[in-house]
């Protein structure tokens, strides 16, 4: 009569754990929130992240101290490439350099951190996945295969996100004006909408690839995003305001996380996606500050 709503995808546990660990959700969310505001940067971010994800997944199947170090280096390389790309494309000012690097390193932490747990899970998951009958479509390289598909899907979505946001915020694609409808508004290019988009992106990935994003570090996306927003702030007053908003944001997120324990959030949205969307909504709500 009374059913539990527990619906952990037990059958896909082996595959899901591995690909989940290897999938840089924080990196994707960060890119979706801040980069994929237009088609050009969206494409760039998608490509970079795809490569990084695949390499990370390949590393995740190996369990050695060396691969751990490699993962950290990979994270730093990713962020360096990311920063370079951002500068090339958006032409940030001198101050922006450092702020962007600081933000990037923070995101890098998230990327590295999430890759680390694969160390504990990978041995069992890899063996389980390899031996587990029926759970994997391809035979030997199953976890890597799954990770590549996931990364490909996420990258395509990221690119599409960039296109859609550019259309909505500027009415153009790759800089070419397509429409001048009244629906177009510059707000669609802002961080708030970006965070919401990031949440939806991850939810789609979660639903299609059956990855569980609960317990991920949303803060690793929100923090760098907030820092980057401080670039746009002018003067001490402006920066102080952004810091204040950030503090309220984190407090609110903490309180909302407790509140969400009692919500019937759909499985694809549980955890990081809904928190990202909430962060976006919070940015909108706190815009009176």
């Amino acid at each position: 009569m009374l059913e539990r709503l527990n619906d952990k995808t037990a059958g896909n546990a082996g595959r899901a754990d591995l690909t989940a660990a290897a999938f840089p959700a924080e990196g994707y969310a960060f890119a979706a929130a801040l980069l994929a505001a237009d088609a050009k940067t969206g494409l760039f971010a998608a490509a970079v992240l795809f490569v990084i994800s695949v390499i990370s997944a390949a590393l995740a199947t190996k369990r050695s101290a060396a691969s751990n170090v490699l993962r950290v280096i990979l994270g730093v390389v990713y962020m360096a490439v990311f920063c370079a790309g951002v500068f090339l494309m958006n032409g940030y000012s001198y101050q922006g350099h450092f702020a962007a690097i600081a933000a990037a390193l923070l995101a890098c932490l998230g990327f590295v951190r999430l890759a680390a747990p694969a160390e504990e899970e990978a041995p069992d998951a890899a063996e389980g996945a390899a031996e587990g009958a029926g759970a994997c479509p391809a035979a030997a390289g199953c976890p890597l295969h799954a990770a590549v598909v996931t990364a490909a899907l996420a990258s395509v979505l990221l690119f599409l996100c960039g296109i859609v946001r550019e259309l909505l915020s500027a009415g153009s694609v790759f800089g070419l004006t397509v429409t001048s409808s009244a629906v177009v508004s510059s707000f669609y290019g802002k961080t708030a909408i970006g965070l919401i988009a990031a949440g939806f992106l991850l939810a789609v990935v979660s639903a299609v690839r059956k990855i569980d994003f609960s317990g991920r570090g949303t803060v690793f996306v929100v923090l760098p995003a907030a820092v980057l927003l401080m670039i746009e702030a002018r003067g001490i007053g402006g920066i102080a305001k952004q810091v204040f908003i950030l503090i309220i944001l984190l407090l609110a997120l903490w309180g909302i996380r407790k509140r969400l324990r009692f919500s019937e959030t759909g499985r694809p949205f549980r955890g990081m996606p809904v928190e990202l969307i909430m962060s976006g909504l919070l940015y909108m709500v706190l815009s009176w500050l």
């Binding site: 009374l2 539990r4 324990r261 009692f262």
Partner: protein, 451 residues
């Protein structure tokens, strides 16, 4: 640091009115002479008794035929004279139980009249040990609840200061306690005086509700005539005021700490029927063999019956004129905390018979209920007499999060049913709270066993 005592409102629920209690409130007890009696091995709560008689054995009314089989059992005495026919198993709400079937003789011994039924008798002739022995030998147990042995409860080495007779009968539909007060007030008062002597309390209180004002007046009259020091406290008819914890808080202002008993706050609470049972044993030598039961709801003649323990439920429905309609649930106990005995179409072959703790047999309309999503109205949290937040426990339990249930203090749930009652979304809050409570308790036991 203690929070301020300012509460917005302590709300309970008010499920009762004229529509339910009014059906049988004014119906005096009728008696039934059943042809067979079905005596359950479980006379209340989790208690079990072991039958000492054999099939074919002749028993006399009042003869001891069962002894306790676990800590909470009490002696059972044959309520009728007759022959033990057989032992059968019947499927009851709390599991499959063994029943002793006794075929009653055509003529039963006549019930005699005694002074204690018409006047106040002080228990001077008895000392504490004798009173406790009477409780034990009379098979006196908590007849308003789980049937806990009275002789154990009153023997506790505690400095009792208050004894409360629980005449709240806060559950809708039920009125057997009410009728007992009106028709047998002297037995109840004499029982109370004896129980007071047994526990050594200073203060005696009979606590009842506004809808029993006539009973309260009658009691006050008798008390005044005899110069007794018994308080009659009348409160609004809110549910679940009759719950032991809530009652003690109302009368004495004390809260029983979590996991403890009334004895830990120096209070003892007993039901109206329990008091009468003690008086019967002390002054008439009659062990606990009868009780009042309300048969009401969608029956043709709702009423109250003072019957031998073991009277088959089918006989009670028949005495009440049968069901008005078939599309009903037959509920054993009260409509809030009782269990489903059978559906209406099985009314002529109901399992089981009256036990020492059966207070009601109610036919309630069968309404298909459909859960809808919680709208966070907070009614359940306002209604919960323990101060819990049932919708949170519901969400946590359905997510399988037992540690969160423990944090939400699901262990304190008293299973009163207020939350499910008040929920506009018809959510199964009571059921999940009860299950969460039981599972968290099991989890805590396991945890402390590991240490």
């Amino acid at each position: 640091m203690k929070r301020s005592d300012f509460r917005i409102r302590d709300r309970g629920i008010f499920p009762s009115g004229e529509w339910d209690k009014g059906l049988a409130n004014d119906r005096p007890f009728e008696s039934i002479a059943p042809q067979t009696v079905l005596l359950s091995e479980c006379q209340g709560g989790g208690s079990r008794i072991r039958f000492l008689c054999e099939p074919g054995q002749r028993v006399a009314r009042g003869e001891k035929i069962a002894e306790p089989a676990n800590f909470t059992g009490v002696d059972l005495h044959a309520p009728v004279s007759g022959v033990v026919k057989e032992f059968i198993k019947q499927k009851m709400p709390n599991g499959e139980l063994t029943y002793c079937v006794i075929e009653a003789d055509e003529t039963q011994p006549a019930t005699a009249d005694f002074p204690y039924m018409h006047e106040i008798v002080q228990p001077e002739a008895f000392d504490r040990a004798q009173l406790l022995a009477a409780m034990k030998d009379g098979g006196v147990c908590g007849m308003g609840g789980a049937g806990f042995p009275a002789h154990i409860k009153y023997a506790a080495e505690v400095d009792f200061d208050t004894i409360i007779v629980n005449a709240m009968e806060c559950e809708p539909y039920l009125c057997c306690d009410h009728r007992m007060l009106i028709e047998h007030p002297y037995e109840v008062l004499n029982g109370l005086l004896a129980m007071r002597k047994a526990c050594g309390a200073d203060r005696m209180v009979i606590s009842t509700e506004e809808n029993k004002e006539n009973a309260a007046e009658l009691l006050r009259k008798i008390i005044a005539e005899n110069g007794l020091e018994i308080e009659v406290a009348v409160r609004e008819d809110k549910y679940p005021q009759g719950s032991e914890k809530q009652l003690i808080k109302q009368v004495t202002g004390r809260e029983i700490p979590s996991g403890k008993l009334p004895a830990d706050v120096n209070v003892v609470v007993s039901n109206v029927h329990t008091a009468r049972a003690l008086a019967d044993m002390l002054y008439a030598g009659e062990p606990s063999m009868t009780r009042g039961i309300t048969v009401t709801g969608l029956v043709n003649r709702p009423g109250n019956y003072l019957v031998p323990i073991g009277t088959p439920f089918t006989d009670l429905i028949a005495a009440a004129g049968g069901l008005k309609e078939e599309d009903v649930r037959i509920v054993l106990g009260g409509p809030m905390t009782g269990s489903l005995l059978a559906m209406g179409d099985e009314a002529d072959r109901l399992p089981g018979g009256v036990t020492k703790t059966s207070g009601g047999l109610i036919a309630i309309k069968d309404r298909g209920l459909r859960e809808s999503p919680c709208i966070r109205c907070g009614s359940c949290a306002s209604a919960c007499p323990m101060g819990l937040t049932p919708y949170k426990i519901n969400a946590a339990y359905l997510h399988g999060d037992l540690p969160l249930c423990e944090q939400l203090l699901a262990t304190e749930c008293i299973a009163c049913g207020s939350c499910s009652f008040i929920c506009p979304a018809r959510r199964e809050l009571t059921q999940t709270s009860i299950r969460a409570r039981d599972e968290v308790r099991a989890m805590i036991r396991e945890r402390s066993a590991k240490k």
